[in-house]
Amino acid sequence: MKLGTVRGKIVANSALILVLMAAASLYSGFASLELSRSVEVLFQNNLAMEQLQDSLDQTEASFSEYLRTKSSDSLKDFIKVSTRLTDQSRNLNPDVYADEILLLQRDLSRAFDTYLKVAEGGVQAKRGRDIPGYAERFETAGRHARSVRILITDLKSRFLSQSLGAFSLYQRFIPGVLWSNAALVLAATLLGFSLLLRYSRRLTDPLARLAEAALAVGRGDYQTSIPSLDSRDEIGTLAGTFSGMQQSVRRSFLDLHTRAEVEKTLLEERMQVLELNHRLKDAELLALQTQINPHFLFNTLSAGIELAGAEDAHRTSAFLENLAVFIRYALTPPDRFVAIADEIECVNRYIWLLTLRFRERFAFDVGIDERILALEVPALILQPLVENAVGHGLADREAGGTVTVRGRWEGDEAILTVRDNGVGMSDDEIAAVQSDTDLASPIHGIGLRNVIRRIQLSTNGLGRVELESSVTGGLEVRIRLPLSSVGEPS
């Protein structure tokens, strides 16, 4: 089992706590044992004195028995108990100290010695049949025994007094010992609990953080940071693996996202292609229509001209003829370039048609510098402006409306102007027309924006259209065409 593993850590920490508690319990037990031993010690001196007195009594009894019976058993008893008494008395202090109890012990030790010598002398006298000798020694031994007893009694009394004194001193410490014992066990328990909390937290914290990160990843938050764990145990391995897995998933998602973006772009491009195709089809359809309808229109108009001629309606015949020429011009492809002279002719025919319709309601004035008549400009750039002036600027005038068309050479530009005295345009409307390039916008006339757009396209942005609305009313549309885009004047 390795200590670096989770199991190893759990076992090591549990062992530490168990050892701590066991040590506290053992120590507490040891302290209690020590106290109980102390109680024994309290009275051991008195017990020793009791033993000495017992031995003395037995020695005296065996000595008397031997003197009385002279039996070998009583002699053996005497030897046995006197030897024990001698051994016991050797525990007494033999030296001279300035201490009452030690001096009493010395007295007792030497008194035992004296007594035993006299008693042994009595035994020898008895064995030697020296009757006066053993009688005298028996009496002397009795006197010494009394002295010994006095000493033993004195010592017992002093030991008891000493024991009581020591006990009261000992007793004074006992509550402290017991309380400190209890405090020791309590402190060990709390320390063990603290260690348990600390180590359990240390073990479970990384797991909790890992679980939080896993929950976040589970919710789809792949940017959440995985806690970096220094531990080399299974949790550290798990965290490392999880982090790697998160990065892998993040990379996969990034790839998917990039692929989706590409697919989206492709789809949009495909949609644009489809849209273009759609418009192309419409354009083709429109082109076909524009190819079919003019034939029908011109045939019809030719039939109308012939009919008007047959009926001598020369005015109607002229109207239809001008109309047919105008329409033929208008239906020609709009991206072609024509001479300004052709544009002026187209404008004149359109004015002839308008005059036939509105008679004296509007006045038209066309004046062109001949030097620019041969310059080529995009077709149909003047007629829409005249139409716009009549249709919008002068629409509300019942009379007095004028439209002036001019063409001149100025510096390195050819300038074509169409001016009316109608309602004009506000600055906002002018700005909107000039900035609005959406041909489908319904805000202003299609013709004006169409002209502006085609001028920009045909001159690569060099030509421009200016709108100027005067304070007294009216609008002047000025087309500036640089020589580089329209050619040299003749």
Binding site: S38, S147, I150, I174, G176, A183, L191, R201
Partner: protein, 331 residues
């Protein structure tokens, strides 16, 4: 919150670790103290000091008399300079056999020397017995042993009585009516008591002065009070009380104070104590004949050491006395 909690965990570990260590150390210290208390008190493991050369027993009455305190003090002081251990046995003053018991005990234990305060009787026999057991025997007391050639250290009661009589004559002259309070240690009839004899000798210098009452008092102040009160009641003409011991002196002074007869009944006391000194200073006690018990102890030890060193102790040594009066006591 994680960081503070982690730190709190460490804080608890350190705190309880310190508590555990502290409790263990305290427990060890307390157990050590109980063990020390037992070692010193029970097992005798307390260092007893140096081994001394001689072992001497002092056998004295168990009496509150300051005389014996002085005797012991003088002996211990001298013993300190001679490497002698003193063991004290106290017997009941009214049970003289106890003194004999302790004497025999000392012989059984073959102690190096015995210093015994007792009456002169049996001193010779004890001297012989001790000599037989190779024990140096030094009798001390106030009554010189009757046998010549037996060493003795004491302050003669006869001389004490003479000095007390002189103090009475000096203060009252011929008008002295003496009440004499003796100790109960003496076995002889009062007229044979050396103190009595000494007082009588001194009073002869002032014809007319005489002892009108004699009484013995047991050891203790209350016994002294009782004897003094009885004496004054028996003969109201008594104008001076001569006391043969310190407790009797203190008891008699108390009676005189209680009866309001300070100045009417003089007290000539014996020995010294803080109470006697105070009463002398107040004038309740006219004078106190102080036996030099400290010197007696010192001389007794000197005699023992001499005997151990081969100088036979065969002559009496008189340590003398001094008279304590108000002039001496006053600061």
């Amino acid at each position: 919150m994680r960081f503070p909690l982690a730190r709190a965990g460490w804080l608890f570990i350190v705190l309880f670790g310190l508590a555990l260590t502290g409790a263990t150390v305290m427990n060890l210290v307390l157990i050590g103290q109980t063990r020390k208390a037992l070692d010193e008190g029970i097992l005798g493991n307390k260092p007893p000091g140096a081994v001394l050369k001689y072992h001497v027993a002092l056998i004295i009455p168990d009496s509150p008399d300051s005389f014996f305190d002085g005797l012991r003090e003088g002996l211990l002081k001298a013993a300190g300079t001679e490497a002698v251990a003193i063991q004290v046995f106290k017997y009941h003053a009214n049970v003289p056999d106890e003194a004999e018991t302790y004497f025999q005990l000392c012989l059984t234990s073959r102690i190096d020397g015995v210093i015994l305060y007792a009456g002169p009787d049996q001193m010779a026999r004890r001297g012989d017995q001790a000599s037989k057991e190779d024990v140096v025997f030094v009798p001390v007391g106030t009554l010189t042993p009757p046998r010549a050639g037996l060493g003795f250290v004491g302050s003669s009661s006869l001389l004490q009585g003479v000095e007390a009589g002189n103090q009475v004559v000096r203060r009252l002259g011929r008008s002295a009516r003496v009440g004499l309070l003796l100790t109960s240690e003496g076995e002889e009839v009062p007229v044979e008591d050396p103190v009595y004899e000494g007082v009588v000798i001194a009073l002869r210098s002032a014809p007319g002065a005489h002892i009108v009452q004699v009484s013995r008092a047991r050891p203790g102040i209350l016994s002294g009070e009782e004897a003094a009160s009885a004496l004054l009641k028996a003969d109201p003409s008594i104008n001076v009380l001569v006391c043969a011991s310190a407790p009797i002196t203190e008891g008699a002074a108390q009676v005189v104070v209680d009866q309001g007869r300070v100045g009417q009944v003089l007290i000539v006391g014996t020995d010294e104590s803080p109470t006697i000194d105070r009463l002398v200073d107040k004038g309740v006690i006219a004078a106190s004949i102080v036996r030099d018990s400290k010197k007696m102890g010192a001389e007794a030890l000197k005699a023992f050491v001499g005997a151990r060193n081969g100088v036979p102790f065969r002559r009496p040594v008189e340590v003398g006395f001094n008279v304590r009066t108000r002039q001496e006591v006053a600061p």
